[in-house]
């Protein structure tokens, strides 16, 4: 009897704790949803008072897909924040083709199985005219097959796997592939930085490996030498064994292909081992978090990025100002690319004259060039993007435009 009471008490405690937690997390997401909705309503209020026709148009609603919870939630959060800025801007200007801009969130956890479920939800929601996402290559490949069959255009802001755009004519992306970036960075290392003896350390994922291989091949092609090539697994924190081996090859530059959570530790441990080589990080390092986690060790590190928030450009600074005012931090390239996806689709919808899936897709096909905040965006026959690479440098805890930029674009 006593035992039953205990178990009941335990259940009660767990339920209360669970409810409290749900309430807390509910609050957090509730906040953002309310903000988005509130912005929407204010904008709607303004537009209805000025132009009565605005309310009559079909809505410009899109699906936003990415990891919103779980261990990759930080990427999804940037993605969502970028889209929120775009929606606020579109609605402040009266919507798109007279329709209110808004989005539905699909949490794919960065996982392929979950991405397919999200894709089905978006396809079934007839108001959704395009998808801003998915973010991770694995999830994108799984979902893209569904979108292609359903004829719902999908524009990924960040999936870099080379195979993705071969999946169909409704599948687009606005980030360059790993192969293109790897080649560009190798050219930059040898031709612009004039450093010939390099070492490579990469995250053993499709992304990290693909990029490292492309970089290595081009380094050799342009007359450089690769003094060492080591790998690690995402989530590792001990890298001294690999770094001790790399140190023996005496490289002038170490190229890091992966993401900043491991990268900040790699650089810190390299400095502890007395390695003085220049560090060059792939786009996965382009975040203010790098400087926060790496501290003094990452000062002077070069990072490849698709979006340089310190660039002296009106459109860029307008976005950065709006973003900082709303979220209190500098936008990373995930946020910037998400913004560009929404604005590019809005441009396509305006060109088509209606908010309709097929019409938007056709209009994207016809877009000659779109000037986004992440650079001029052009699509090749595949739906892959042709766009310049920027290099930033960590300075006083922030990412600033690096003194040496890639000469060949």
């Amino acid at each position: 009897m006593k035992r039953t009471i205990w178990i009941l008490a335990l259940c009660a405690v767990l339920v209360v704790a669970g409810a409290a937690l749900a309430a807390c997390s509910g609050d957090a997401s509730g906040d953002t949803t309310t903000t988005a909705a509130a912005t929407g309503t204010t904008a709607a209020g303004e537009t209805t008072s000025s132009t009565a026709a605005a309310a009559a148009g079909a809505p410009f609603k899109f699906g936003l897909a990415g990891p919103m919870t779980g261990q990759y939630a930080n990427y999804g959060t940037s993605h969502k924040q970028g889209a929120e800025i775009a929606v606020a801007e579109l609605n402040a200007a009266g919507g798109v083709n007279g329709g209110q801009a808004s989005f539905a969130i699909g949490d794919d956890l960065g996982d392929a199985k979950q991405a397919v479920l999200v894709a089905q939800q978006f396809i079934d929601d007839k108001d959704i005219v395009f998808v801003d996402g998915h973010q991770f290559s694995g999830a994108t490949i799984a979902a893209a097959a569904k979108y292609e069959v359903a004829g719902l255009p999908m524009i990924s802001p960040s999936a870099t796997n080379p195979d993705i755009t071969a999946l169909g004519k409704f599948i687009w992306r606005i980030c360059m592939t790993d192969a293109v970036q790897g080649k560009g960075l190798a050219d930059y290392t040898v031709n612009d930085l004039k450093l010939k003896n390099v070492a490579i350390m990469y995250d053993d994922s499709d992304y990290g490996r693909g990029l490292a291989d492309a970089y290595e091949a081009e380094i050799k092609a342009v007359g450089g030498t690769v003094a060492g090539k080591e790998q690690y697994t995402a989530g590792d924190s001990e890298f001294k064994a690999q770094l001790t081996k790399i140190k023996a090859g005496n490289p002038e530059l170490i190229f890091l292909s992966g993401y900043y959570p491991e990268g900040s530790k790699i650089v810190a441990q390299a400095k502890e081992l007395g390695i003085t080589a220049q560090f060059l990080g792939s786009d996965g390092y382009a975040s203010d978090e790098l400087a926060k986690l790496g501290g003094a060790a990452v000062e002077g590190m070069l990072v490849s990025t698709f979006f340089d928030y310190s660039k002296a450009d009106d459109a860029v600074q307008k976005f950065v100002t709006a973003f900082k005012a709303k979220f209190g931090i500098n936008p990373d390239w995930f946020a910037a690319n998400s913004y560009d996806v929404v604005m590019l689709a809005a441009q396509a919808a305006k060109n088509a004259g209606k908010n309709d899936r097929t019409a938007i897709n056709d209009a994207i096909t016809k877009l000659a060039e779109y000037k986004g905040i992440s650079g001029a965006i052009k699509f090749d026959a595949n739906g892959d993007v042709i766009k310049p690479l920027s290099i930033v440098m960590v300075k006083d805890g922030a990412l600033v435009t690096a003194p040496t930029q890639p000469s060949v674009q």
Binding site: R3, W6, I7, L10, V13, L21, C24, S25, D27, A28, D31, T69, G70, Q71, Y72, A73, N74, D204, E230, Q231, Y232, T233, G235, D236, S237, E238, K240, A241, Q242, T244, K245, A248, P261, S264, K265, A268, K271, E272, L273, G274, E289, K292, L293, G294, G295, A296, A297
Partner: protein
């Protein structure tokens, strides 16, 4: 030679961190034959709470909160105390009601607690990694780690500190278990719970103390791990927790010096494996060692407890 010393010392330090968690596994297993998977998460809370105590401001549940900004050497004991209490609460709520249930039920409960704690940490601290403040005693004015050289290998003072603290903790713990009355009660309960109870040992109290000590050690490990690698993250305890479990089995589960030896060996094997075989399989070495051990010496290097229990 330089590289060899470097690998050896790196492995030694990593091994000490594994040993601190392994000791919790081994003590708890020795007494109630439960693999408390939540030690990895208590390790993680050890790191987070140390950070909370050391910074002046931190974001909790998405809101900025003021914090005391204590010294590392004050923050870590506080974190250990809080996590120790958390460990006891977990035992009371999630394991004690299942004390007489089949062992599988308790194991599933342990996995559940582990997942719950990870998610709680993510809800409180967010999914982004948090940076661990530098410890002024071990850092130069330029923000670099203070270090010295032995035969060309560079060793930081923080690494030496980690090894020193672990050795002191292990010796103290071993003395506690072998010399004190409570230690004797622990050993008695490990041999036979029912008979110990008949002899007047309060077994529930012994188990609670075991969780208290194991959790505090885990928290110490987490705080040191966080300071060495400069971070805390909700998932940070998973991999070290698993490795520590292997270390405990390697040394002979139920045996405290065994956990220390197992941890150190595992750390060194990993470091040399990554250096001389391939870094691709760094994490796999731990599991290869586990499989070989289970095939040839299932009771572990110093262990005899398992065969007694079986």
């Amino acid at each position: 030679m330089t590289a060899f010393i470097q690998y050896l010392f790196n492995g030694l330090m990593l091994g000490c961190l594994y040993a601190l968690i392994a000791v919790g596994y081994t003590m708890v297993y020795g007494i109630i034959e439960l693999i408390n998977f939540a030690f990895g998460e208590l390790f993680m809370f050890g790191a987070y709470i140390s950070i909370m105590m050391m910074v002046s401001k931190i974001t909790l549940f998405g809101h900025e909160v003021s914090m005391p900004g204590l010294n590392f050497f004050l923050a870590v004991p506080i974190a250990m105390a809080i996590v120790a209490i958390l460990g006891v609460v977990i035992e009371r709520l999630a394991y004690r009601p299942l004390r007489n249930a089949p062992r599988l039920a308790a194991l599933i409960s342990a996995i559940g607690v582990s997942i719950l704690l990870q998610n709680v940490a993510q809800a409180i601290f967010g999914s982004k990694q948090v940076s661990f403040p530098t410890i002024s005693l071990f850092t130069t004015a330029e923000g670099q780690a203070k270090s010295f050289q032995i035969g060309g290998a560079i060793i930081t003072w923080l690494q030496v500190f980690v090894v020193g603290v672990t050795i002191v903790a292990m010796v103290a713990l071993n003395l506690y278990v072998s010399r004190t009355k409570m230690g004797r009660a622990m050993r008695a309960s490990a041999q036979d719970k029912r008979t110990s109870a008949l002899m007047g040992v309060n077994v529930n109290r012994v188990i609670a103390i075991t969780f208290l000590i194991g959790s505090a050690m885990g928290a110490l490990g987490g705080a040191l791990y966080g300071s060495v690698y400069h971070f805390a993250a909700p998932q940070m305890g998973f991999s070290p927790g698993l490795k520590a479990f292997i270390a405990a089995v390697l040394g002979g589960i139920g045996n405290i010096p065994g956990a220390f030896l197992g941890g150190i060996l595992l750390g060194i094997i990993e470091s040399f494996g990554a250096a001389y075989v391939s870094s691709r399989y760094q994490s796999a070495f731990a599991f290869i060692v586990l499989i070989l051990l289970l095939c040839f010496k299932p009771s572990g290097l110093l262990g005899s407890t398992v065969s007694q229990k079986a």
